[in-house]
Each structure stands twice: as C-alpha cells, then as structure tokens.
C-alpha cells in the first residue's frame, strides 16, 4: 500500500518528506501550507479515521510540531503526519472541514499550547479554569514553580483551642 501512496503524494505535493519505518508505517513531514491538502488526499485514499492530533513543543528548535495520526477502520497501518509551526507566529488552519472530530483536539491544543486555529468555531477553554501567561503544556512553563507560587501561599488553618 505504502509505495503507491508515497508516489502519489510525492508527485502532487512539493516539499514533502516521507520515511517508512521498519514495519511499513509511514511518517510524513509536510510544510505548513499544504497540510490541509495532504490530509484531504490521504482521506480520499482510505485513511478516514483521525485518531489523534497532538502537539510537541521543540523549544530548542523554536517550533511547535503538530502531529496528525490517521488510520483506516480495517487495515493494519496508520500514518503519522507532522508539520512544524514557528514559535513566533502560532497561526494555523483548522481541519474540522476534513475531519469533524478534530474539533476538541484543536480546542485542547489551543488551550494548552496556544496555537490559534483559524476558522475554528469555538476556541474556548476546555479543561483549565485559570488564565496562564504561558500556555501550561509548553516546555517553558514550569509546573513546579507555578504550584509553589500559587498554592504555597495559602496559609494553614489554625485550630482555635
């Protein structure tokens, strides 16, 4: 399966890198602009199930990496599609028009990593109750320091005797 998909994608899209793992799994790196088109093309080729959208903060390389994991309901393979977003300008497009279940994933990434998904209908908080200066799942957010600042100040209750 992978060879035909590989050839097809290479022919259509520019700047795309495809590597095959030992077990035949495809890992595709695409530039930001063509992510939507590549996802659409993969969906047409049978990868109809979006399992996960994840985000990794590569702080040393000054970029956030979005990871799309696609699979089908019957085949033993899945595709990992990656794209990099510069940390300075965190704008990206939504993929809800392609995969409907992308909605909560993008909402979560917006909240925890601060990526702005253009065209997303409701980028409102999903889990968190406070406002954070740095989105909390980024690598420069120090959980321990935050906990110390926010929760260590609460004084102990003194019992009246």
């Amino acid at each position: 399966m992978d060879n035909s998909i590989k050839r097809k994608l290479k022919a259509i899209f520019r700047g795309i890198e495809i590597s095959t793992e030992k077990n035949g799994r495809l890992v595709i790196s695409v530039p930001m602009d063509s992510t939507g088109d590549v996802l659409k093309s993969l969906k047409d080729q049978g990868y109809i199930h979006l399992a996960l959208i994840s985000c990794v903060d590569w702080i040393d390389k000054e970029k956030l990496e979005l990871v799309y994991i696609l699979s089908s309901y019957s085949e033993n393979d899945h595709i990992i599609l990656k794209t990099n977003i510069p940390r300075k300008k965190l704008d990206f497009r939504t993929v809800i028009d392609i995969f409907e279940n992308a909605e909560p994933y993008e909402r979560e990434i917006h909240e925890l990593f601060g990526i702005d998904f253009k065209g997303h209908p409701r980028q409102i908080p999903l889990f968190l109750e406070r406002d954070y200066e740095i989105p909390p799942f980024r690598k420069d957010f120090d959980t321990r320091k935050y906990v110390k600042e926010y929760f260590d100040e609460i004084p102990f209750v003194k019992e009246d005797k």
């Binding site: 990794v56 409907e100 279940n101 909560p104 959980t143 321990r144």
Partner: protein
C-alpha cells in the same frame, strides 16, 4: 415555547462521573447540548514529563479509574517499542488474559451504571457484585484491587500464584452461570427494549465521520477491532469473534457489551489452555538510570471502550518528552454525545451518555 438552559451535572442524579452537560431546552426537547469536561483535569501528561519512565506507571493507571489495565498496557507497549525490548511468550499470554479479565470487569461496571440508570436496581447490584469477584482475582494476582501496576516493560511483574488459574476459572464459571438470569431480567426484558430501542441512534457513515470507535462503531455493523486489525499481546494466537449489531442505537450498544463479555471469557479459557511455560519478564536496565533513545511512537490497543492510543516522544533522556493519550471517550463524549443529544428528550440524556460508555477521567486526563 420558552427556551431554558438546564445544567446537567456534575451534581446530578442522572450523571455518572465528574462531567457536565449544558442543555438548551424547549419544553422537554433539547435544542443544543454542550459538553463541559475539565472537572478532573490533573494534567497527567505534563506531570509525566517530570517523572522517569518507570515512575510514570502509578500515574498512567490513574487516568482511567474503571479500567486502568489497558492504560498500563498501552504505556508499556510504547516504552517497549521505543526502547526495543522483547517480551517473552508467556508474558504475552498472561497480558492477554489479564486484559480480557479487565474488560469483563469494566463492562460489568458499565452494565451497573446503565442498569442503575434505567431503574433495574437488581441487575445493577448483580453486576457490581460480579465485578467485585473479578477485583478479588486482581487483588490476589497483583496486590491491588483497583490500580494494579502489573504490566511492566518487558513482561509482567510476577507469574500467576499457585492455583490462581483454577480459581479464575471457577470465578468465571460462577459468573457465567448467571448469564441466563441477566438475560431474563434485563437483556430480554421488554422494558429494556422499549427504553433503549432507537434512542441515541447513529448511522455507520456518521459514526465514521465523527471518529467513533469501539461499541459505538460496532453497534452500527462495522467489524472494527484493534485486536484483529493490529494484534498485540497474544491476540493473534487465539481465535475469537468480534460481536456486532446493526442498528446503532443504545439497545445495540448494550447488547454488543454483553456479547463482548461472553466472548472475553471464552477467550480467557482458550488462552489458559495454551498457556506456554517460561519466563514472565525480560530484565530491563536499571530503572533509575534508564534512558531511551530518541524517537516517537504511536501504539494502540482495544480498550473496553474502543481504540486507546498513546503518542509517546523521547528525546533520549530518562523521562518522556511528550505523552499524549488518545482515549475513546474523548470523541464519544465531546463530539458524538453533543450530536446525539440534539432533539433528544431530557429523560434520555443519561441513557445516551451511558450507552456511549463515556468515562469522564479519560476525557480530562
């Protein structure tokens, strides 16, 4: 008629778990439903970046209270894949037996919630009692009732104790003897049919479009099961059926759950018959100094609710660089639930939610 806003949960009799839904209603009809997760958000994935590979085991199992075992499994599989650790044959078999036992326990818990919600209190109590018998087995095997931390990179922590297999078989037989009772009181009961038929109906095309997995997709007639598609542990060595139903409603989903339990018990018997001898774990390097080469992996297992995945990234250090769990309740509870509640009546909210088998801690992570 006037439009009203109704807060369903987290403190509500019809709500199981820490989860809430805001309903916009007109009379008894729901116009719009908004799911609000976050009551249990503890930032596990971030916390795991601060702990070593082995220290994370007590954390991962707490992500899903009902069924911690598949969480351990998926994390172990990802670590094994990144570190290139082999698992002995006997450990594969024990893992499968253990996971199927967990599936039965989890389904019984789901049955408890569902029967309780419909007012079948007796059936609910039976299901809870039978789940407790399975927890007894887990206690004997692992020392813990709810959280077990039994699966380990390289195998399982210890072999079956002496006589454990016989006790497991007799427990499963005693539960199996009650299946006719369950059927007569609940599954073949007219009340259950009337209450669940055509409730929360979803077509196969819609379920696929919205990323449904597990019972949700199998109740629409699609035979999709990770244990068959991408076999892990010892599932390629054992012959089993994937139960399906056609209608895609709450009735079908609960029937799929029932059939799966029976199939799981049969699978345990088959696996016990062919249990190979040998070691149950391969030694891993010193856990305090263990580093894993850089790379990323996505692994998936079929938990009792559907595809449970883990995207794990290592940067070569002694701690994970990024952990992201793909939990089945996430899409079921946040996308499909909102869709199915539209135009439903208020009385069916619990019915639809529990038949989708939404477990709140799994969503929040």
């Amino acid at each position: 008629m006037r439009e009203l806003e109704l807060f369903f949960g987290p403190q509500h009799l019809g709500m199981v778990g820490n989860f809430s839904i805001t309903l916009k209603v007109e009379g008894d009809r729901i116009i719009q439903a908004t799911a609000n997760p976050g009551y249990l958000h503890r930032g596990f994935e971030k916390l795991m970046e601060y702990r070593t590979w082995i220290q994370n085991f007590p954390l991962v199992c707490r992500i899903n209270v009902v069924e911690p075992d598949h969480m351990e499994m998926v994390y172990s599989m990802a670590v094994e894949k990144l570190a290139g650790i082999e698992v002995p044959e006997r450990a594969h078999h024990i893992r499968s037996i253990y996971l199927e036992l967990a599936r039965v326990g989890s389904h019984l818990f789901g049955l408890w919630a569902y029967a309780n919600m419909l007012g079948f209190d007796t059936v609910a109590q039976w299901a809870m009692y039978h789940r407790d018998l399975i927890l007894d087995l887990f206690e004997e095997l692992t020392g813990g009732r709810v959280y077990h931390i039994y699966i380990w990179p390289g195998g399982v922590r210890r072999d079956f104790p002496r006589g454990f297999e016989d006790r497991m078989v007799s427990t499963l037989h005693s539960i199996g003897k009650c299946v006719p009772d369950y059927d007569a009181t609940f599954f073949n009961n007219r009340l259950f049919y009337e209450r669940a038929k055509d409730i929360g109906k979803i077509t196969q095309a819609e379920a696929i479009k919205m990323g449904g997995v597990g019972q949700v997709i199998r109740a629409t007639g699609l035979k999709s099961d990770i244990r068959k598609i991408e076999p892990y542990a010892a599932y390629q060595k054992v012959d089993f059926e994937v139960p399906i139903r056609e209608d895609g409603d709450a009735y079908s989903r609960v029937w799929v759950i029932r059939d799966e339990m029976i199939e799981s018990v049969h699978m345990i018997f088959k696996l016990l018959d062919n249990l190979p001898k040998g070691e149950v774990y391969n030694r891993i390097p010193n856990p305090f100094k263990w580093t894993i080469p850089p790379g990323d992996a996505y692994v998936r297992v079929e938990s009792s609710r559907g595809e449970l995945g883990l995207y794990l990234v290592s940067d070569g250090g002694d701690k994970p660089y990024r952990v992201h769990f793909r939990t089945p309740s996430y899409t079921h509870g946040l996308v499909i639930l909102e869709k199915l509640l539209k135009n439903a009546s208020i009385a069916d909210v619990g019915n639809i939610m529990i038949s989708l088998y939404v477990v709140a801690p799994e969503i929040d992570r």
